[in-house]
């Protein structure tokens, strides 16, 4: 429950400081420190890694960091939208993985080109989001359970068309014939080309998703209503909004973005690997939750999810350069997440009732 007290007038929010009162100045300072903590840490990491390994700071490496986190950031932004409506989409990892398979299947088995395969896969993601929403809104299945079972279903479904095989050119289908299609070179550009030879296309996609979703969630009335649904669904419905439609929108956005993430992976890898996207769900959820700590918001926010993904990416890349073994990666991610949540909920709380 919220702690709304009639009479214990809470101290001014937004870190207003009263002139001449050291205590309040200090309180304001520590609030500013808290809200900027992730950025300060990020800057410290960048400086520290550059000092330890000057090659860290060259533009190629920085772009490779962004390229590595692009998919997680895109999925994290999608999860953020479902968190805003008070839900949680656990199926994104499986949607991304099965989108890799769907894209590969469409091109290699059906022989479609990029301009047919991409819309098809995005539509697949949207459809999964719609089914999730149907389960949640119509059948009243709790969000976590609905999307968890969808995750299960999809990770099984993606194995069926190829009888469990990974998809690459020359795939032998279950009926014994050999697939004749191949990856469209135009499709591979999504994962492998760079704008002006510097900015990878996937980073451009991530930026577009970030900007569009940031504006949608923070600056439009639809965004206000999405958050209102998550904040107080009864109040939102009584205010005349259709919370069912808003939830459908959130899950469709989340599903579509997950399939976009899948497209980026497929275009980078160039084959449909049955085991792709294993850690995507955890990474994307971690990015969204680390985002709670960004700017001291203590709530889902798109900017935070992107920054959270980048933060983890910088940390992993730097540690790898410093020869940290690969098997420490999950531990590092977990430690960052625990730290961010402690910052969000523990230290971020005002102790004055």
């Amino acid at each position: 429950m919220t702690s709304i007290n009639d009479e214990s007038l809470s101290p001014p929010a937004r870190g207003d400081t009263t002139k001449g009162e050291t205590i309040h100045w200090l309180a304001g300072f520590s609030a500013a420190l808290r809200s900027g903590a992730v950025f300060i840490l990020l800057a410290a990491l960048l400086l520290g890694f550059t000092a330890a390994e000057p090659a860290f700071a060259n533009i190629g490496n920085l772009m490779s960091i962004l390229q590595a986190v692009a998919v997680v950031a895109i999925l994290g932004a999608g999860v953020t939208v479902t968190l805003a409506v008070g839900g949680f989409d656990l199926s994104i990892g499986a949607v991304a993985a099965s989108s890799v398979m769907a894209a590969s299947y469409a091109m290699i088995v059906w022989g479609l080109d990029a301009f047919a395969a991409v819309p098809l896969v995005l539509a697949f993601g949207a459809l999964v989001g719609l089914v999730n929403a149907l389960l949640i809104v119509r059948l009243k299945v709790p969000d976590l359970l609905a999307t968890l079972s969808m995750m299960f279903l999809l990770s099984g479904l993606q194995l069926i068309p190829t009888a469990g095989r990974s998809i690459s050119a020359g795939l032998i289908l279950p009926d014994g014939t050999t697939a004749t299609g191949a990856y469209d070179p135009a499709f591979l550009l999504i994962g492998r080309a760079s704008l002006f030879g510097v900015v990878p296309v996937s980073v451009v996609l991530m930026t577009i998703v970030a900007v569009v979703l940031f504006v949608l969630t923070e600056r439009t009335r639809i965004g206000r209503l999405l958050f209102a649904t998550g904040g107080n669904e009864v109040a939102t419905r009584l205010a005349g909004a259709s919370t069912a439609r808003l939830k459908v929108l959130a899950y469709v956005i989340s599903g579509t973005l997950a399939s976009l993430g899948g497209i980026v992976i497929a275009a980078r890898v160039g084959r449909g690997d049955v085991s792709s996207g294993g850690s995507l769900l955890m990474d994307a959820v971690a990015a969204a939750l680390i985002g709670f700590a960004v700017l001291g918001k203590r709530r889902p926010n798109v900017l935070g999810a992107i920054v959270g993904a980048v933060f983890v990416g910088v940390l992993l890349n730097g540690l790898t350069m410093l020869n940290a073994p690969y098997y420490t990666q999950d531990f590092v991610k977990g430690a960052v997440l625990v730290g961010a949540l402690a910052l969000t909920y523990g230290l971020g709380r005002n102790n004055s009732c």
Binding site: S3, H24, R224, N232, R237, L238
Partner: protein
Amino acid sequence: MPLLQIDALSRSFGPTRALSGATLTIDAGEIVALMGANGAGKSTLVKILSGVLPADNGTITLKQRPYAPRTPAEAAAAGVVTVHQSTDLVGAPGLSVADTLLLTRFAERGQPFFVSRSGIRRQARAILDAAGFDLPLDRDFADLSAADRQLVAIARALANKAELLILDEPTASLSIEESRRLFDILRRLRDGGLAILYISHRTADLEAIADRALVMRGGVIAGAFRRPIDFSAAIETMIGRKLQSARPDIRIAEGAPVFEMRGAQLLPDSTPFDLAIHTGEVVAITGVLGAGKSRLLSAIFGAGRLAAGEMLLNGHAHRPETPAQAIAAGVAMAAEDRHRSSLMPANWPGSSLAATISLPHLAKWYPHGLLFGGREQHEAEKAIARLRIKASGPQAPIASLSGGNQQKVVLARWEAEPSKLLLLDEPFQGVDVGARHDIIQAIRSRTDRATLIATSDPEEAYEVADRILVIDHHSLVQAAHGPSAVSQGIHA
């Protein structure tokens, strides 16, 4: 010697002084009413006494020993027990009444690890017998009425050997009958030597039960009144100005009604009734808790359904299936319990004063979808001025406002756009006398719409309405024109 003596107690929150030198005493065996407008410092005082907050300065003496509890458990151990306004938190669904009664005991150290059903029942029975209450021990906590939950909380408090019982708005969700039952119990407990600090906005309650009234204002005790308590003087002390008569100038409604119900049945087996409301009229519906007030309003607003019958708005059939359709047709509703039905949680997008007002009107105010242009800011400033809302500005977090001001914001939400019929469900819940006066004036100043108010307090109904209807067993039983008729209707 008094049981409890408080000397020059003060407490600040940042720059706000919630308590600035409050001094009072409470004797054993008396019921002391604590009155005060929202923000006067009542809650802070209670929180200090119950160990939720520490005081900055001042001393408290309980039974001639210094008293400075650091946790609610320490306060309870010293004999000071607080029963809070919302009794949902006393127990949990799935626990029986007996479990709930023993919940604090389960949490104590040194209690046996294994518990038996019969042992729990025996101990719970002993607690109820000691308090003199009759409650079903095996009933699930979730199925208890608000009044019974209150009794469970009190019984549990007494089992902890309370010497000072603090009750915060105990009748807020009780019907008149239930309140009476509670008062009888409280008098009996007082006669047994218990001291009771009774906090309430309702003068009728205090009149019925208080031996003495203390009035808080600006963080100090601004006045003390002995029985017979002069409530006009007490209220004037409380709000710091003369109390103008809020008695309305009755408007006689004429012409075709703006809203009609014909042969309406709220439940399939309830008695059908008719209802007609005219533009400019303020009509109040009163009745005990669960009589069907909220069900009636919900049906008009499209949040519920009529079992049978028809509704007409401006002569056209009115059959809203969702609140959105009702709003589009010109019906607005501020539902009961503003935290549940209207407000966003703190620190969440849309939890500012301005965003609280704009929520239903976003599509109209921002047709292009982007939240630019300051329309909600402008509307909020108008509302702040018109309803005299005390807030630092349109962007003030709604949680930082007192209950009365929050309620004004909720009213402002539905007055921001014109409506034909405004429905208000318990609009005075947790609202102090001063704010209530402002809200009544605001409601009555509008003659361009009809207003239908549901309230369980006939006094409130009489204060605000031109016409009062009584609802009982999900049917309107009579149209009354005066307070006497109302009380007869309720007690029939």
